[in-house]
Structures are given as C-alpha cells and as structure tokens.
Symmetry: C2
C-alpha cells in the first residue's frame, strides 16, 4: 500500500521544481522501467500493479487505483519507477557528431531527438538552459529508453561555444548551403538546432562555421525540429560511418 506522503511525493515529480528539489524523476511503462533497471541509473522505487512482476527485481505491488493516482499518463501502465537524476558532465572526447539544442521547449521534440541521436550512435547532447527539462515525464516517455544511454547536459551556449571554438560547428538555417551539395564532412563537429518558432538565437549565429539547409521542394514553411535533426544525423552518417 502507498502512504499518502508517498503519493504526494510521486505526484509532485510531474513538476520540475520538485524534481530539482528531490533530484529524482518518474519513469513509466513496462519496457521503459525494465530498461531503467538494466541501466546505470540509481533507483528509488519500482511499483507494479498486482499480478505483474519484474524478473530478478523486488518491485512493490500496488493496486490499479493506486497506480492511477501516481501516474502522469492519461492511460497508466502497470509499471512505474522513481529514479535518481544523473549528474551529467559535458564530454567532448568522442570523435563524433555532438548535438547542440537551442531553446527546444516541446517535450515530445526533445524526447524524439534523444531517441533519434541514440539510433545514429550520437551519444552527446548539449542543451541551452532554455530547453525543456530532460526529466520532464513527457520527455522521458518520448525517448523510449534512449534517455538512459545518452549524455544530456544543460549549459549557457554562448559560454560553451566560446570555450570550444576549435570544433567545427554546423547550424541548420534556412539561408544555409544545400545539404545535398555540401554534406556534413567533419567527423567531429557540433550540429546546432534551433527552435521551430524562433530559429537559432542571433547571439549564437557568429559561432556557426558551416551554415546548412535541408533543401525545400514544396510549400511548408519549416520542418519539425526532430524531423530536421533526423535528416541531418542521417546525412552525417551517410558519409561518416
């Protein structure tokens, strides 16, 4: 049985303020919770509804009604865990593309970008402080488990680029060079993506050494940022395997 204070605590983790205060976050769904247990994230609680089990793990059984009272999902699953947030540090040692995200506010987009990066073997994502919290339940769910494998850190991007100006920096801009004619040739580079509403912040433009653009053939004004990131990661991998 869940105590009232447990319920309150778990429910509070839907808000960033309380996630920061406790240094923990929610993970829901059978696949996600099982991947979490396999990962190197530290666990605080794992709950399953009556009748469900996790092999080699002693999960706490609760009723469906209790699950409903703590879940952040409209349709709760049978598995919910509370894990400790990982203190990540920026790691630029790999000879690989590094994603840099400016002001990505939509949780679904950030989650999908993390999942896409994981597909393409891109392990480092640098977020501007304005990006949505990676431990937001909607981000966590949209990563489909990739969150547990990718290094995501939050920085001031101006300072970050000032300190790391020896690495070439691609930026996706509508006025950039045609990607099909100017592919992403540097094995180690930043790829800076801006928000759909505001693009890349003006103060970051001077740090872009390679402006690129996904050619447009129709009339849509822009691409979804996760779709654009996927296209650019794929274009990178096409020549950097």
């Amino acid at each position: 049985m869940l105590s009232i204070s447990q319920k309150k605590y778990i429910h509070s983790l839907q808000l960033k303020k309380f996630r920061l205060q406790h240094g923990t976050f929610l993970v829901e769904g059978e696949k996600m919770v099982k991947e979490l247990i396999q990962s190197d994230f530290e666990l605080e609680f794992v709950f399953v509804t009556v009748g469900n089990k996790i092999e080699n793990y002693n999960a706490i059984e609760i009723s469906e009604k209790e699950m409903k009272s703590i879940s952040a999902l409209t349709t709760p699953s049978n598995f919910l865990a509370v894990a400790k947030q990982k203190k990540q540090v920026v790691d630029l040692t790999q000879n690989n593309l590094i994603l840099v995200l400016d002001n990505i506010k939509d949780p679904g987009n950030l989650g999908t970008i993390i999942r896409t990066a994981d597909w393409f073997g891109i392990n480092t994502i640098i977020c501007s402080n304005e990006c949505v919290d990676v431990y937001n339940p909607k981000v966590v769910q949209a990563t489909m488990g990739s969150l547990f494998r990718i290094n995501v850190t939050y920085v001031d991007l101006v300072e970050f680029f000032q300190q790391n100006n020896s690495i070439p920096s691609y930026g996706a801009l509508l006025e950039g060079k045609n990607l099909y004619q100017y592919p992403i040739k540097y094995k180690k580079a930043f790829l800076l993506m801006g928000s759909e509403s505001f693009g890349i912040d003006n103060k970051l433009i001077p740090f872009i050494t390679e402006k690129i653009m996904i050619p447009k053939f129709g009339q849509s004004e822009s691409l979804n940022v996760a779709v654009a990131t996927g296209i650019l990661c794929s274009a990178y991998r096409q020549i950097n395997r």
Copy 2:
C-alpha cells in the same frame, strides 16, 4: 454572440463521429486560419476574439470566454474556423513519390508527416483505413497548414496495392537493404511506412518490391515514424530533384 447550439456543434467536432456526420472540421490559430481562408477549402464559420481582424474577411467577433468554450486547445488562440471536409480522390498521375501510411494512430505523427511531405514537394498521401482521421484537431494543428495543400485519402491498402501493382513500392523495414547503399532511385514510387508499435502489416509485405532500412549505429530500437519518413523523403530528393 454564440448560441448554445453553435457552441454544442463546434464542440462536437472534436469527435470523429460528429465530424463525419457534419462533414466539417476545426482549424485554430492565426496562421492556420489565414492559410485556410487562402486555400480552396470551403468555410462555414470564422471566429476571432474581440479586437482581432482578418484582412478582407468578415469574421465573427466573440469574447475570449466564448473562444475558450469552443476551442480544442489547452491554450486557445484568437482565431478559430469551421471548414468543410474535402472529398479527396486518389490521384496517382504525378511523376513523384507517393507516401502510403499503414495504421498511423498518433495524431501528432500524422500531422508531422503531412508537413514533412509538403516540405519535400510530395503531394499525395494514401492512408490505411486504420490511420487516425486527418481532420482530428491534433492532426490539423500538427500539419501547420500543410493539410490545405496535400491530397490525403483513406483506402483499403490490400485492394489499393492490388490495383496499382505496376508502380514500384518501397517499404521501410528493419530487415531491408541499407538506404545509403541502395538509394530510392525510382522517381515514381510508393513509400510504405508502418506503425511504430506493429510495423508494416504482414498482409502488405508481399506488395513491397524494394525493402529499405535506415542504418542504425546506436541502440535505440526504432525511430519515430515521422522522423523516419523525413529521412526517407530527404534521401529520395537527394537523387530525384
């Protein structure tokens, strides 16, 4: 002022049943409503909150409170329209890629796919009858206006492929050929995308003449279907301009 029956009617359009019954759908947001007015869709009502105007169009002014009562959005905008659904017919006359979607249930994904198709100048999308309704408000919003430019029809895909078996048919499958080594070379072809949870339905596999796969370099189990569609449309345009 809105009458109670108007409120009821507009509110009912959040459900497919009533959209079908009335043959109409909701469009919200300044940019979307203005694009709708420019399009060849027939209008039924256009509402703006007091103080807002649309050039050369006589919109009905309502209060913010009234807007809130009819909007499908958590944060209502100042513009809402009711338009007539367009009876689309399958049009395979263009010498171009044609998207075929099997069982895409997520409204955000379908909307993003329509927007992506529009970016790449792909004007025809064939949906299986199991796909989410294109006039679902969440689909409409996610298209960002591209809905008004793209031909989207619903069919039984087995019958469809039986009737159109002279056109080469690409299918995105995990066991397909490496996209980077086997690009999408046919200018006129189908590109069949399946749902993330279930992939392409088994009964459709025999109709695929070219199995392709986006190479994986990391550990994520799958790509989001809108991201995968974007990568494949871009790969198509890279050699078919």
